[in-house]
């Protein structure tokens, strides 16, 4: 109903479920002695590491996600750093998915710790509020007593997510046409999902400083002046509770990045780590039955400069060898004083073009070899067979938490 001036008065049939401080809560669940203590989840056991999640006890002391552990430990001297444990988080993710799937066939996990249930066309025996409380109860019973979640119920995905963020932790809130303005009145612009510093500046430039002013803005201003695209119309509808975010995104890129463990590595050592990333990206690409057409390599330097280069090939590819060959060639032109490296395959499509095998014997041999290596690695464990070049890199580069995406879970 893009373009309507009224608020959406349809029943609230979208539910957003968000695990509270997910990784920290899961650690507190699995290690009972950590409960009621300030806990920070980190990806490495060093003082220089960044915090990827914090328990509510840590947040109460001022610890924030993204903060360096050393800085956080000054705020909270008793802060306990726990190294992230992805298999455990994947297990809880699957448990949450099972619970959500038992209420509707239309469930989409937005990330490892949040999911959306669409109740349209689902026969309901109880109200969504009752279902929300039941999900909280089941989470405690089926995962553990330390697990809590926020539930938001609304007519569209945007407002459901907003509702899920209103009363943390363990809240349950409903937003509909009757309380929409009241909710916006208590919020800042940057509290709205999707509005960060940059968009806030653009809204401020036309005199919009609060969510209520954003709601009052006319469609033409949003479309032609603020967003200068169809996004303006979408925001106009989204804010009023109309659905514009029910979209599925195809996999467009498959990539991996790594912050170097040491700032004094030689180019050769960095190149082996890049090779490791290429093997990892190749495996992920093939695990999804995809092929790619291009490789993109980037480098972030110690002085926070960003360098990147990419190359597209006429034929699709999927082997670690090809990805690495292209990436290493691109990397030859990279600057020195590297802090972070990344590689990404783009031009990704489904691997359904069996004509590839008609081109040459070499392609067929490569297909067979790569297939055999993947079978061995699946049977005996990740990186059982890999390049000799990356023999030592596994000690440093470990699989970490896949933020934002659930496609590798």
């Amino acid at each position: 109903m893009l373009g309507s001036d009224k608020y959406n008065t349809e029943p609230s049939l979208i539910m957003h479920v968000d695990l509270n401080s997910a990784f920290a809560s899961i650690e507190q669940q699995s290690r009972p002695l950590l409960r009621s203590k300030p806990v920070a989840i980190v990806n490495r056991r060093t003082k220089n590491t960044s915090i990827v999640a914090a328990s509510y006890e840590a947040k109460d002391l001022g610890v924030k996600v993204g903060m360096r552990f050393e800085e956080a430990a000054r705020l909270a001297p008793n802060l306990i750093a726990v190294e992230s444990d992805p298999p455990k988080y994947r297990f809880v993710y699957k448990k949450l998915l099972d619970i959500l799937n038992s209420y509707s066939p239309n469930v989409v996990m937005k990330s490892i710790d949040e999911g959306v249930i669409d109740f349209h066309n689902v026969p309901l025996e109880k109200s969504l509020v009752e279902i929300g409380y039941e999900i909280k109860k089941r989470l405690r019973e089926e995962v553990g007593c330390a697990m809590r979640c926020n539930v938001g119920i609304a007519p569209n995905r945007f407002l459901a997510k907003t509702a899920a963020g209103l009363n943390k932790p363990d809240g349950l809130d409903v937003i509909n046409a009757s309380n929409l303005c009241e909710v916006y009145a208590a919020m800042q612009l940057t509290d709205l999902t999707g509005i960060a510093k940059h968009l806030k500046k653009r809204l401020n430039a036309v005199g919009i400083f609060t969510p209520l002013e954003f709601l009052d803005a006319d469609k033409a201003t949003l479309q032609k002046v603020v967003f200068k695209s169809i996004d303006g119309r979408k925001w106009y509808a989204r804010l009023r509770g109309y659905e514009v975010d029910d979209r599925k995104f195809d996999v467009k890129t498959v990539g991996r990045q790594y912050v170097l463990e040491n700032r004094n590595l030689t180019q050769k050592q960095i190149s082996t780590r890049l090779h490791h990333l290429c093997e990892s990206v190749g495996f992920r690409l093939r695990s999804q039955n995809k092929v790619a057409r291009g490789v993109y390599v980037y480098v972030r330097t110690l002085d926070h400069k960003y360098w990147h280069d990419c190359r597209m090939l006429p034929m699709p590819f999927y082997s670690d060898r090809t990805i690495n060959l292209i990436a290493q060639r691109l990397f030859l032109n990279a600057p020195e004083a590297v802090m972070e490296i990344g590689v990404r395959c783009y031009g990704v499509s489904d691997d359904n073009d069996k004509q590839l095998s008609l081109f040459s014997d070499e392609t067929v041999r490569e297909q067979n070899l790569v297939g055999a290596i993947d079978v061995i690695n699946r049977r005996f464990g990740d990186r059982t067979v890999h390049s000799a070049d990356t023999m030592m890199t596994g000690r440093f580069i470990r699989t970490k938490i896949p933020f934002g995406s659930t496609r590798y879970l």
Binding site: I26, S30, P32, L33, L34, R45, A81, F91, G381
Partner: protein
């Protein structure tokens, strides 16, 4: 920093197999040094694959320390792999 110690000790375990959230419940275990521990709570049990081999990981506590016990479903062995006694 965390006080977790990484171990790889083969242990002897008394466990029950029944119903409920945790079908398998380790109740007590004995380390090679002879010390015995009574498990007071299973924090979380999750499966983990080592290649095609399934391990069941039990994060448990005896009230004074947290432990990680790993049950290898193929070899039917138990290992103590982590210990943390943080009491802040």
């Amino acid at each position: 920093m965390d006080d977790e110690t990484y171990l790889n000790e083969r242990i002897r375990v008394v466990a029950t197999f029944g119903e409920g959230l945790n079908l398998c419940r380790p109740l007590r275990f004995k380390r090679p040094n002879g010390r015995e521990y009574e498990i007071t709570e299973i924090g979380l049990r999750h499966p983990s694959m080592k290649g095609a081999r399934m391990l069941h990981i039990f994060d448990v506590t005896d009230g004074s320390a947290d432990f990680r016990l790993e049950f290898d479903a193929e070899r039917l062995t138990w290992h103590l792999t982590r210990e943390a006694d943080h009491v802040g």
